[in-house]
């Protein structure tokens, strides 16, 4: 027995020596740093740092970050405070903490204000919005049908009103000198100029251009409400420029919108403006998502 002890002691001695070489302060391996709670800062973020041993025996540090948010101030009367300490009864008696009967919604729900296009609600979109500033009186945005310029003048007051209308399907630049075109190019040195070659004329090749241009300046509108139709989109997008085509995808079975549609502008900048202003715009209780349409597959 004595011999055994000696042997054991010798064995232990070796191991203990080994241990000492490897770990410098290793004697306290089984201890963990204390749990730290960094209280809610000005953004309401609270950090809880805990240490524990995982299954492999390694020390792990767990940091939990939560946002602490005060929902409401409850000012309770004396009796209400007393009621707070009542015992649970009925089905609530055996309620455990993980029952999750009462949960705070992860979604932020707002009191959605109803909108009506062209009325007061539009002013509230952005006070710095030039559109809003233009229609400050709360009146409908003025759109001139002749030249498509918004907010400037009514159609009857359009400086271009007695001239040929710029066609919807074809535009490069609005003709800088409409008066000239009106006189027709016939005066240009007396030679006959066919109508299609005259300045300001509608070119028949516009057919192919029509389609190309329609797709080029196509704006896709997502998240439409179920009873949105083409006239609604037209009315909504008209202030931004000349709309050549509107389309709302419909579910044939129910007759309701599938939630998205396309608006084609004559000019690219009009589409740009529409996207800039209407993306995120609240329309019929839904927030619109407006973007350039992906090119057609075929």
């Amino acid at each position: 027995m004595g011999i055994d002890n000696l042997g054991n002691a010798a064995v232990q001695k070796t191991r203990w020596a080994e241990l000492e070489e490897e770990d410098d302060g290793g004697d306290y391996d089984f201890l963990l740093p204390p749990r730290q709670v960094i209280g809610p800062d000005e953004h309401g973020l609270k950090k809880v740092i805990e240490y524990k041993f995982n299954d492999d025996g390694n020390r792990v540090k767990i940091t939990t970050t939560t946002r602490v948010r005060k929902l409401a101030n409850a000012r309770l009367s004396k009796r209400a405070v007393e009621r707070r300490s009542w015992l649970k009864f009925g089905d609530a008696v055996h309620e455990d903490v993980g029952a999750r009967l009462t949960m705070v919604s992860t979604e932020e729900i707002i009191l959605e204000r109803p909108r009506a296009p062209g009325t007061k609600a539009e002013e509230s979109i952005a006070s710095g919005d030039p559109l809003a500033q233009m229609s400050k009186g709360g009146a409908v945005l003025m759109v001139c049908r002749t030249c498509g310029k918004k907010g400037d003048h009514w159609t009857s007051k359009c400086p271009y009103k007695d001239l040929a209308q710029p066609s919807d399907t074809f535009v490069e630049n609005p003709n800088p000198n409409p008066t000239d075109s009106g006189a027709s190019g016939a005066t240009k040195g007396g030679a006959y100029v066919p109508p299609t070659m005259r300045a300001g004329a509608v070119r028949p090749t516009a057919g192919a251009d029509m389609r190309r241009r329609n797709d080029e300046n196509s704006v896709r509108v997502n998240n439409l409400s179920e009873d949105t139709r083409e006239p609604d989109l037209l009315e909504l997008f008209r202030p931004f420029g000349s709309v050549s085509r509107v389309y709302v995808a419909m579910d044939q079975k129910t007759g309701m919108s599938r939630g998205f549609g396309f608006v084609n502008f004559v000019r690219r900048e009009e589409g740009e403006r529409a996207i800039a202003k209407l993306n995120g715009y609240g329309y019929d209780n839904l927030i619109l998502s407006v973007e350039w349409a992906a090119p057609r597959a075929t």
């Binding site: 948010r69 929902l71 409401a72 409850a74 309770l76 009367s77 009796r79 209400a80 009621r83 707070r84 009542w86 649970k88 009864f89 009925g90 089905d91 609530a92 008696v93 309620e95 009967l101 009462t102 949960m103 705070v104 919604s105 979604e107 932020e108 729900i109 707002i110 009191l111 959605e112 204000r113 109803p114 179920e226 079975k253 129910t254 309701m256 209780n285």
Partner: protein, 327 residues
């Protein structure tokens, strides 16, 4: 705002009521257990076990000591709010639909549905201060309306009883004599079943909601129509804010569009209207089914809605709710 969702009921909600102090919320549903929750954080306090049928309505005494519930199991029960024990059961012979405690909590109204040949009626019962004296006899029975009486409440100072129901007529009865004093003017009244009724805090005016997609505001003494609020959905529940001039309507879905339901969930909303201007101020979405119950906290800073989905959603208003301009 971040609504607090409380899923304590397995079946659709039928009624919600706050106590006078605003710290407890009582919910009734088509399951048999009315539940009480803390109104600040939505934590469940307890349930009242004893009913065998859908609980349609409840009311709580001013000191929050007694709760009365009306149920489809033909009984109306009186409970001790704190412990959940049943104190008394009124046997009604017919499903009890609406209950309301009078000012002073000495009397209560219990309305019963038409059932097995019996017509609907409004019973007035005395609530004794001491339980031992409690008897089940009615002090007054009012009959007359054809069809279900969906809501019956005490008028100003308990002098009158106001009732409304399936026949779309709002009636005022005299409590002393038991006679009907007035019916609302048929031309301006509701065209379909009146589903809900909410009184103002001083009982001077009340709001009725109906399946004809409108809600109407009436004067309690003269029964003159003051305002009408129009919506697109049948109205199942109405509530008036005690603090601001707001009226909230909660409703359902047209039966015709049930099969073509929108796949976007959470669309059912409680609509806020300006009480005076009759204009829609906004809507609070979130319910997955038609809203059947609405209630405002007496301090006006929060409200709750109960839906067909069995959820109670408790909303504490954001500060900018109180800054909505009333032009």
């Amino acid at each position: 705002m971040r609504p607090i969702l409380m899923k304590g009921h397995e079946r659709p909600l039928t009624f919600l009521k706050y106590n006078r102090d605003g710290d407890l919320l009582f919910s009734c549903a088509k399951d048999n257990t009315p539940t009480v929750w803390f109104a600040d954080n939505g934590e469940r306090l307890g349930t009242y076990r004893g009913h065998n049928g859908a609980v349609w309505c409840c009311d709580v005494s001013r000191d929050s000591s007694r709760l009365i519930t009306g149920s489809a199991d033909t009984s109306a029960k009186l409970w001790d709010v704190k412990t959940g024990t049943q104190l008394f059961s009124f046997n009604m012979d017919s499903p009890a639909r609406a209950v309301d405690l009078s000012v002073g909590d000495k009397l209560c109204i219990i309305t019963i549905d038409p059932f097995m040949g019996q017509s609907s009626a409004i019973h007035v019962k005395r609530i004794a201060a001491d339980l031992d004296d409690q008897v089940g006899e009615s002090v007054l029975v009012l009959k007359g309306p054809v069809g279900r009486i969906n809501r019956a409440v005490w008028g100003p100072l308990n002098r009158t009883i106001i009732s409304a129901g399936e026949d779309a007529v709002v009636r005022i009865w005299d409590t002393e004599t038991g006679k009907m004093i007035q019916e609302n003017d048929k031309d301006v009244g509701h065209k379909k079943t009146v589903t809900s009724l909410a009184k103002s805090t001083d009982s001077s005016h009340f709001l009725t909601g109906s399946l004809d997609k409108s809600a109407k505001l009436w004067d309690s003494r003269t029964l003159t129509l003051i305002k009408t609020y129009v919506t697109e959905r049948p109205v199942n529940a109405v509530a008036m804010s005690p603090l601001l001039n707001h009226v909230v309507l909660g409703g359902g879905q047209d039966a015709s569009s049930v099969t073509t339901t929108d796949h976007r969930a959470g669309k059912f909303e409680a609509k806020f209207y300006d009480k005076i201007l009759q204009e829609e101020i906004g809507g609070v979405k979130g319910h997955f089914g038609p809203i059947n119950a609405l209630a405002f906290n007496p301090d006006g800073k929060s409200f709750s809605s109960g839906g067909e989905d069995g959820y109670v959603r408790l909303h504490h208003f954001d500060p900018d709710y109180f800054r909505i301009p009333s032009i």
